[in-house]
Symmetry: C2
Subunit: 117 residues, 2 copies
């Protein structure tokens, strides 16, 4: 597993994170995603984290950085599918997903991105 | 990694296969997917395999079986994102994805499923 696939849906890109992130995989994802935003002229990025039981500070920072990169390329980022336990942990640990909007699921994330355009 | 997330998009379900399948993971996916087809009243299933470099007979059979299960629940299955090398190998090895339609990417898969409804 060297890279996380990025799916194009209209002018949005969808990334489903299913595996434990490590430095190299996170860097590859950021490289791929920024290239695809430019190539596909994407206006929004959906990051699905429904498969993650834990979001630690590394993942949190990776998501925030990815969103910041997308933003300078004029694309909004929405994180979708967060499990209840992850939401609890994020708040209890004081982890912030800076610059990132969240939505309950992909459908609501798509609706949010379409309103933000 | 105990289960592959299933994303709902309108009346379609999207599954992105990113990891090596093994028996238990495949069975969990089939359980989850059939439950979700019923629960979400889905009319179609998209299986994205763009992250797979190899599709062997086990994966091929798993996809065919999943499509057969979806079919008896009145949902069509479309496999999307197949890499060129995978297409070559499938044909050279004579592996057939029985009962499964394919499309180049998610967007074309969605279009195909909407025509099939």
């Amino acid at each position: 597993m060297d890279r996380i696939p990025i799916l194009k849906m209209g002018n949005l890109l969808l990334v489903t994170i299913q595996v434990d992130m490590h430095d190299r995989l996170a860097m590859t994802l950021q490289d791929d995603l920024t290239s695809r935003i430019v190539k596909d002229r994407a206006k929004g990025v959906l990051i699905d984290i429904s498969a993650l039981d834990i979001v630690d500070s590394f993942i949190g920072r990776m998501i925030s950085n990815t969103a910041a990169m997308a933003k300078v390329l004029d694309a909004h980022t929405v994180v979708v599918g967060m499990q209840p336990a992850v939401a609890i942990t994020l708040v209890e640990l004081g982890l912030k997903l800076d610059g990132v909007r969240t939505a309950l699921n992909v459908e609501r994330g798509v609706a949010l991105l379409q309103r933000m355009e």
